[in-house]
Amino acid sequence: MAKIVIVDDEPFILMMIEDKLKRAGFEVVTVNNSQSALESIRTERPDLVILDWMMPDMSGLDICRALKSDGGLSGIPVVMLTAKGQEDDEKLGLSFGVERYITKPFSPKALLENVIEILASRGK
């Protein structure tokens, strides 16, 4: 069963995504602050990470950059979840090697579909 780590500072968003993914049968780990995000990802070794962009202390982009530069973790696909809705924001995000860029507000169903698609393309 694929394992997914979700990082977001808004508890209700964590809850919502967790519910949706768990119902679809995924194993889910939620992280509600950016500082412990990297540590959790290292220990959990998930198959996919869902990241919020705008968080205090460390932005989702920073976490993504750290992931991509870590040999052991760089293969993990990242879905960026953000309220930054402008086109150049999306370009910036994709330039960091983000797999999908989903803007808030979002449909949990669409998010789930994206997750399944990414994992399927990687044979999981």
């Binding site: 919502m16 968080m55 309220a83 507000p105």
Partner: protein, 1083 residues
């Protein structure tokens, strides 16, 4: 050497001797044997005989040996003698050769003796002399070459450098080893290589030439040199190489570049002139012409003469005396000359002002003349008009002064006549008054003619001669030449030599009271304008005459009126002086009307002008309260003013309410005026304006009032014209200077080296320099003292280079202004091109972008933050609703979801109301709900509210109340919101575990609150912007926020008459200091 020669001689001689003696010996031996044999044949020889014979031969043989010895000795002696003789000159030659070899060319070999050795010696001497000369020459050459100040190189036939001199090393830094053997082209770039190759080809062809070249020095500099190159031939007259002697041309090149540049600038300046500018030689041929002149000559001025270009004439205007020819004048006098030339061009009268300046050579001889031709047709018309109007005005003023200052008619008219004569440039004149019966004109005053003549000619009857004629017809009589005028055949004035003459009636109220005559002894054509003036003077004089009579009567009757009259006169003079000094039309009108109003004692005066559609437009109304340029009467309205204009005469309505035929403007209707008077202002037939006054009382305006107004109106007429002309001229002149100075962009013009040529006011302000002080310095030295400006200066250098290649540049950069402010600017660089398309300078335009950039950033920041702030709660609402609809949720979960949707919906709505609140407060519609407040209690409440977020962040909040706080009242809700915002900011823009301190204290009659944190702080350059709506500091861009909180807080503080001061260190934390005046709510 010596021995060898002697031995050789000796051996030679010895060998010679032996060669002689040995055969002799054998010959004797053989011959003797033969003789014995022959003798034996003849007669057998006896033994004795044979013995004697043999003895004899033996004796001969023995003697031969001794002779051999003797020969031996002789040979030795001879060889010694000759050897010595030969050896001496040889020795000398040897010594001399050795000496020459050692470099001593002074030696001479003794050439005494007769042998061939003498020839050898003298040949040797010749050789030594030649050698000496050649060597000396070589030494000198060598010395000269190495002493030469000018660098040189010698180049072989393979284009490689063979030799250089020390000056070459000095100039270029290359030592001999650096260059000798190398291709000469290695010392230059491609362009110069081409020149060099061509020059070397010239040498191959045996030519000598001088050329310029840029050689790359060892230090990598391009050094310009002037080279004189010549071929070098060997003795066989074959080309052995090429020599080039150089002159350091750096200074000259710089000088020439400066000259060229000056020329280019001059050219550009010349071409930018709208006036024609040409250089003319002594044959009046155009040598050079600027763009304007070239255009006028249809591009080709070659072979054109100046008069063809300037005056469209084919013959030299100088042939007719040349007084007015400015060019000829300058050639003759060597001084600048200016003249105005009038001619017909394309059927149009054109006035061209030609200013000519000499171009002198060193000896002071004028070779050429620069002539600038400016079309002054329009200006001239203006000038003529202005001069005319001024003249008119002055005369009229003088006349009106005379008319009003004096009450003695002769004095008045004498003065008027003199002024008239002066104004028209006449030689004299006379005034005739009609007698009471209206039959005879008698002379009262005359000037320029003898009293006897006037006496004799006696009074003229009506209709008789020139004065009588004018009096009879009531019309002005003018003639350009009396002696040729059939109308004046019998005139007595013909005998006086009078040529031009004008007679005009003095008319009062429709009645002629006298005649003015002015004349000149030269012919003169009176212009319509002059006639008009003469007419009006006649009318004014007539009025004045009547006025005087009236006044005298009045004085008799009303003594007390005297005061008023003088006052009125004073006022009139005041108007006159106002009109002559003021050029501002509005001010002039206003002043004049005020005086009119006060003098007439009217309640209201205005000055109306008909516009193109004949609507009457208000131009001036002192204290009237009606705005200028208001249309007060439409074209069709039946107004008093319109009627006066139509009638061309003053209209007086003394009972306005009763005579209601006229429409009264809505601006005046309420004021219920009872009397109105309108005086039209005419210029010829053209209705210029109408002045009218209104009184609240019934009033019959006196005639002198009307006259006074008419006088003012006629003065106003010329004054208005004059003022308009001046306004136009001043406008034209100031336009171009004003444009550059008024441009909001900073403009700096630089030369190709980056030297500042000009700088406008804005650029000066930006750099913090006086524009004049910047001229001449480098453009990279104008801005300094910061990293931004260092970048700017690098950019300016690059742009300068690019622009000089003809490109245009543009950058968005930030610079530090002279006041130390960071200013974002759009920097544009444009090349200034001269005619051949190359750049001769660069214009840098600095557009201050700060406002635009800030507004843009704020706008997009706002959109971003607002959309972001809205997106997060919307995520809950949209996402969770979808979950609720699509999934089968447990009851408990369902509740959590629904309550989250509710609270996030609430958050969204809060945000919207925040925005709305701010908008309301800013629009000034928000009202405070003021109540007495317990500040300390309120602060504690807020502290409680923050417990949850504080805990989450691991932060601490400390509240300190120092002493008893003064009484305070305010809107509790708003104040709480403000404090929450500030504390929230402290917590948001800081690291976990931060500390916030709130201190409240009473200070005099104020409450002071200090909120201090140890958070991230605000970057110093952004501190000024904090609190501006939607402004968010750059280091906060990843944090959620609308940028509204502090703006809202600031507004709330302002509403409470409070003050806010924010100090911040980045990093180090922020201190917000709030001060509120202590107060009590009103009960």
């Amino acid at each position: 050497m010596r021995k060898t020669l002697i031995y050789n001689f000796f051996i030679l001689l010895l060998a010679f001797a032996l060669a002689m003696i040995v055969p002799l010996y054998f010959l004797i031996d053989r011959t003797s044997a033969g003789i014995i044999h022959e003798l034996g044949k003849v007669a057998p020889l006896s033994f004795e005989q044979r013995l004697v014979f043999t003895k004899l031969i033996q004796n001969v043989k023995d003697n031969l040996i001794s002779m051999s010895f003797y020969t031996f000795v002789i040979a030795f002696m001879i060889s010694l003698f000759f050897g010595r003789r030969l050896l001496k000159p040889l020795k000398e030659l040897y010594a001399a050769a050795t000496s020459i070899k050692e470099g001593n060319f002074e030696i001479q070999v003794d050439v005494s003796g007769e042998s061939e050795l003498k020839d050898v010696s003298s040949a040797f001497n010749g050789m030594a002399r030649a050698l000496k000369e050649k060597t000396e020459e070589l030494v000198w050459k060598d010395r000269y070459v190495s002493m030469m100040m000018d660098p040189l190189w010698v180049i072989g036939n393979d284009d490689r450098i063979i030799d250089i001199n020390p000056a070459f090393t000095k100039l270029f830094g290359y030592e001999r080893d650096d260059v000798i053997g190398y291709l000469v082209y290695e010392l230059m770039d491609e362009e110069n290589e081409k020149v060099m190759r061509k020059q070397l080809q010239f040498r191959e062809d045996g030519m000598t030439s001088t050329y310029e070249l840029q050689v790359i020095s060892k230090r990598g500099e391009l050094i310009p040199v002037l080279i004189t190159g010549a071929p070098i031939y060997n003795e066989k007259n074959e080309l052995a190489g090429k020599i080039g002697i150089m002159k350091d041309f750096r200074k000259e090149t710089a000088l020439r570049r400066a000259l060229n540049q000056a020329n280019d600038y001059q050219r550009a300046i010349m071409d930018s002139m709208p006036d024609m500018l040409v250089v003319i030689d002594r044959g009046f041929n155009i040598q050079m012409a600027n763009k304007a002149a070239q255009e006028a000559a249809d591009g080709d001025f070659a072979g054109m003469q100046c008069y063809q270009l300037f005056y469209s004439r084919q013959d030299n205007c100088n042939t007719a005396g040349g007084k007015e020819c400015p060019v000829a004048n300058v050639f003759a006098t060597g001084k600048p000359h200016k003249s105005v030339h009038e001619h017909i061009e394309n059927g149009r009268q054109v006035s061209r002002e030609v200013i000519a300046f000499p171009i002198k050579d060193e000896a002071g001889y004028v070779n050429n003349v620069v002539a600038i031709a400016r079309d002054v047709t329009e200006k001239k018309v203006f000038e003529v008009e202005i001069a005319q109007k001024n003249k008119e005005l002055i005369t009229l003023l003088g006349i009106s002064k005379s008319l009003n200052q004096s009450l003695r008619s002769e004095e008045i008219f004498g003065g008027v006549l003199e002024k008239l004569v002066e104004m028209t440039g006449m030689d004299g004149g006379s005034i005739f008054f009609l007698d009471e019966m209206g039959r005879e004109l008698s002379c009262k005053y005359h000037k320029g003619l003898s009293a006897d003549f006037m006496k004799e000619s006696g009074p003229f009857r009506i209709g008789e001669d020139v004065p009588g004629r004018a009096a009879a017809t009531g019309q002005t009589f003018t003639t350009s030449d009396l002696s040729n005028d059939p109308r004046a055949e019998k005139s007595v004035f013909r005998h006086t030599g009078i040529r031009a003459c004008a007679a005009f009636p003095i008319t009062g109220k429709e009645k002629t009271t006298g005649v003015f005559v002015i004349f000149s002894f030269n012919p003169h054509v009176f212009s319509l304008e002059e006639e008009r003036i003469l007419n009006s003077v006649g009318e004014m004089a007539g009025m004045a005459l009547e006025n005087i009579r009236l006044y005298e009567r009045m004085r008799m009757l009303f003594q007390h009126q005297r005061w008023r009259k003088t006052e009125e006169q004073k006022q009139l003079l005041q108007v006159a002086s106002v009109l002559t000094t003021k050029l501002d039309l509005k001010e002039m009108l206003n002043t004049a009307l005020m005086i009119v109003k006060n003098t007439i004692r009217a309640d209201f005066v205005w000055f109306l002008e008909p516009d193109q559609r004949n609507n009457l437009v208000l131009k001036s109304a002192p204290e009237g309260g009606v705005p200028e340029d208001t249309v007060v009467y439409d074209a069709g309205d039946n107004s008093i003013e319109g009627y006066a204009l139509e009638k061309k005469e003053p209209v007086i309505i003394s009972e306005l309410q009763i005579e209601s035929d006229f429409q009264i403007s809505s601006h005046l209707a309420e004021r219920k005026f009872k009397t109105a008077c309108a005086i039209p202002v005419y210029s010829g037939d053209k209705a210029l304006a109408v002045v009218s006054f209104y009184c609240s009382t019934f009033k019959q305006p006196k005639e002198e009032d009307i006259f006074f107004l008419q006088t003012i109106a006629s003065i106003l007429d010329v004054a208005i014209e004059r003022a308009r002309l001046y306004e136009k001229t001043i406008l034209d002149k100031g336009m171009s200077e004003t444009i550059l100075e008024s441009i909001e962009d900073g403009i700096i013009t630089v030369d190709p080296e980056g030297g500042v040529i000009s700088m406008n006011r804005t650029a000066g302000e930006l750099a913090g320099l006086a524009p004049s002080s910047a001229i001449g310095s480098k453009c990279t030295e104008l801005f300094g003292g910061s990293e931004e400006n260092a970048r700017l200066n690098i950019l300016l250098l690059k742009d300068l280079e690019r622009c000089m290649k003809g490109e245009q540049t543009q950058h968005n950069i930030t610079i530090t202004s002279g006041k130390g402010m960071k200013v974002p600017v759009l920097l544009n660089g444009f090349p200034v091109k001269n005619k051949d398309g190359s750049s001769m300078g660069v214009v840098f335009a600095f557009r201050n972008n700060s406002r635009q950039e800030e507004v843009n950033r704020l706008k997009s920041d706002f959109i971003r933050s607002i959309s972001h702030e809205f997106r997060t709660p919307l995520s809950a609402i949209v996402g969770m609703s979808e979950m609720l609809l699509e999934e089968q949720m447990e009851k408990e979960k369902e509740e959590v979801y629904l309550s989250t949707i509710l609270s996030e919906g609430q958050r969204l709505s809060d945000m919207v109301s925040d925005l709305l609140d701010l908008a309301t407060i800013e629009s000034g519609k928000e009202i405070l709900r003021i109540k007495d407040l317990d500040m300390a209690g309120m602060l504690s409440e807020i502290k409680e509210e923050f417990q949850a977020p504080l805990h989450k962040k691991g932060a601490s909040l400390e509240l300190r109340i120092n002493g008893q706080l003064p009484a305070f009242s305010g809107d509790a809700e708003k104040l709480k919101r403000m404090l929450r915002n500030i504390i929230d900011n402290s917590l948001t823009y800081s690291n976990p575990g931060c500390r916030v301190e709130i201190t409240a204290a009473g200070k005099n009659s104020h409450i002071e609150l200090v909120i201090k944190d140890n958070g991230w702080g605000i970057p110093p350059d952004e501190l000024n912007h904090i609190g501006e709506k939607f402004y968010r500091a750059r280091n906060a861009s990843n944090i959620k926020g609308t940028g509204l909180g502090l703006s809202l807080s600031k507004e709330i503080i302002r509403m409470h008459n409070g003050k806010i001061q924010i100090d911040s260190k980045n990093p180090g934390g922020t201190t917000v200091r709030l001060q509120f005046p202590s107060r009590r709510a009103k009960r």
